[in-house]
């Protein structure tokens, strides 16, 4: 038990809930969504971060502060239906650099990436861009010194403790390992993002 998250007031109608770690982020976001579903919480947005959950547009902030102590009781149910497999061609321009930075061979980098169970910690940067947590420490590499002005859609990259896939062409500074052909973002769909907070992700060889 870690106790309830620590609330910080944000502007006039938002709260930032500081969590002890990724597990508490998931539990807190799940509790917030469950409460919103049942009408106990009225707010516009529930936004998980790396170590926080933001509640934006909260209608009764004092009520949330008063009952936050009971949020830890909500059980987090992993949605196994939401496990996603992403086939990757390991043809990224930074594969050699990642090998150099980690002291591994390129095939060891690829094998390690393929054998890691990842989970979407939070989204941001661009619509459908998911920060995938769970990388072994050896794969934690810094961003490129010079970001690329153009990273293609489907590029799979590493930065710090996270792995990510660029949903559409954009600038970007992550170390690129390869490319997936899977569509990650479709704004015309009822579920526009393939990868959402909590989604389990596994990479396979394309």
């Amino acid at each position: 038990m870690t106790g309830p998250p620590t609330p910080l007031r944000v502007g006039r109608d938002a709260l930032l809930l500081e969590c002890a770690g990724p597990e508490q982020v998931r539990a807190t976001a799940a509790a917030a969504l469950a409460r919103r579903e049942s009408g106990l919480l009225v707010c516009d947005e529930v936004v998980p971060g790396a170590a926080t959950v933001l509640l934006d547009g909260v209608v009764d902030r004092n009520a949330v502060l008063a009952e936050l102590g009971t949020w830890a009781d909500v059980e987090v149910v992993d949605d196994e239906d939401r496990a996603v497999e992403l086939p990757v061609a390991y043809d990224g321009p930074d594969l050699d650099e990642v090998a150099r930075l980690t002291g591994l061979s390129t095939s060891e980098v690829v094998d390690l990436h393929l054998s890691t169970e990842l989970r979407v910690a939070f989204c941001g940067f661009a619509p459908g861009f998911a920060y995938l947590a769970g990388l072994p420490e050896v794969l934690h590499v810094p961003r490129r010194d010079e970001p690329r002005t153009r990273v293609p859609a489907g590029a799979v990259g590493l930065a710090g403790e996270f792995c990510g896939v660029y949903p559409r062409e954009s600038p970007g500074g992550w170390q690129l390992l390869g490319t997936t052909r899977t569509t990650l973002w479709d704004p015309s769909s009822a579920e526009p993002a393939l990868l959402r907070p909590g989604t389990a992700v596994r990479f396979t060889r394309d």
Partner: protein, 289 residues
């Protein structure tokens, strides 16, 4: 009743960036979808009310004014936000009020005299297909309609109900301080930073856009050297990168960010930021939450 093709408006000339704006995309921040929408929401809402639209109807947001368009069917328009000269078929009309336009009439907005972003509402609203529940252009994310170009024919919805001219258009006024609620990360800044922020004058940088109002002035020093794990960002957050120059997050801001937020503007102050031009001076008045 007019047919949709009769109601369309044709963009004959524009001087600066013209985008479609509405109330934005709310409820998708956890997927990385920015709110977007009109930067000056009160001006957008008033323009819609003046022509009888629902406040969620799409208006045209014109940076710096400067827009000429021809209406198909007879209609009503209203221009709010930045104060711009308004003419219909060359004759001066009121800014900030409902203006009747005859069939085939030409509406022209001159360059902004006061403020930066003018909002033009047309009865029925601009009726492009919504994307994720909004007709707002979000150029950074690539969501919604592209920027408006000369020659575009924009669809217009059916004429709505009676106008609800509640509220009076007032030209934007510079000079008053922006109201800032301190936090959530004030403890990331050194002692002098908050005192500086409450006292100093900042100047709006030319690098400002719909993502953020970038300010130049005395640097706000960090008290910590480690990095802040990425966290959710709200509209009006004043984020401070390591260089110490504050950035006010506006409608197209990213949904999460990794620099500490020293404070958050109240909604009225966020709307005023939409009307600040490069070179304008900005001060803050700090309050505690």
């Amino acid at each position: 009743m007019t047919r949709p093709e009769e109601r369309a408006i044709t963009v004959e000339r524009l001087a600066g960036l013209v985008l479609l704006a509405d109330l934005g995309r709310v409820g998708l921040a956890h997927l990385g979808v920015p709110r977007s929408g009109a930067l000056d929401l009160p001006a957008h809402r008033l323009a819609n009310r003046l022509v009888g639209n629902d406040e969620a109807a799409a208006t045209l947001e014109c940076l710096g004014g400067g827009l000429r368009l021809r209406v198909g069917a007879a209609t009503t328009v209203a221009v709010t936000g930045a104060q711009v000269p308004v003419t219909v078929d060359g004759r001066p009309r009121d800014w900030g009020d409902a203006v009747a336009v005859p069939r085939g009439g030409v509406v022209e907005l001159g360059r902004a005299v006061v403020g930066l972003r003018a909002y033009l509402a047309v009865a029925g609203g601009v009726a492009v297909e919504p994307v994720l529940g909004s007709r707002s252009s979000d150029l950074l994310s690539g969501l919604g309609p592209p920027r408006v170009e000369e020659g575009d024919e924009l669809p217009v919805g059916e004429r709505p109900g009676a106008p609800r001219p509640v509220g009076v258009a007032v030209p934007p006024r510079a000079g008053d301080p922006l109201e800032l609620v301190v936090g959530p990360r004030e403890d990331w800044f050194d002692e002098a930073a908050l005192e500086t922020l409450g006292r100093a004058a900042y100047v709006v940088s030319s690098a400002s856009n719909r993502v953020g109002l970038r300010l130049e002035g005395p640097a706000l020093g960090w008290a910590r050297s480690r990095e802040l794990p990425s966290e959710g960002m709200v509209l009006g957050a004043v984020q401070v990168p390591p260089g110490g120059q504050p950035v006010v997050f506006l409608a197209d801001h990213p949904t999460t960010g990794g620099y500490p937020v020293v404070g958050v503007l109240d909604p009225a102050s966020v709307a005023r930021c939409a009307q600040l031009a490069p070179g304008d001076e900005v001060r803050f008045r700090l309050t505690r939450p």
